[in-house]
Symmetry: C2
Subunit: 101 residues, 2 copies
Amino acid sequence: MKKFGLYNKFSTVPGKADELADILIKAADLISGAHGCRLYIVNKDQKNSNKVWVTEIWDSEEEHSASLSIEGVKELISEALPLLAGPPEQTKLDVLGGKGI
Amino acid sequence: MKKFGLYNKFSTVPGKADELADILIKAADLISGAHGCRLYIVNKDQKNSNKVWVTEIWDSEEEHSASLSIEGVKELISEALPLLAGPPEQTKLDVLGGKGI
């Protein structure tokens, strides 16, 4: 099972994590139907109330990249940008195996 | 969809990441059948060849904790320990929503 994985860490301006999470859950609705998307999960960090994480798994990195131009996603990115304290940090992964997708 | 999520970061001694990943994939076979386990995925970090990540999603943190005493898991932990350069680092998450589990 060789797939592309991604942890996206979003740091928000104080008090805006829930609002950002709501936007990302809307994005999940649009993106999760895209070709090659196996997982798109929105999380809050238990220890840091201004961090939101998105866990993604895709059949390929190319399919992930293509998802950023899905209709409606750019509009959600525009809504999210003012809530961020800085650029998202990404950890790119080679998914080796396991269960659940 | 309120669930418990976990990113586990394992740092290995040089050259041992593949061996650790194989052990963790064996652990996935044992753990993924446990009550409450929704996701258990083993990954290598694309940028750092001595890092292995496990992404987990559980119905509750208690069910995750119980999984560490599943038969066979302790033996795999013993096999893994000599490969590690230090203790695993955990990021605990509140899973809010999304798709794929």
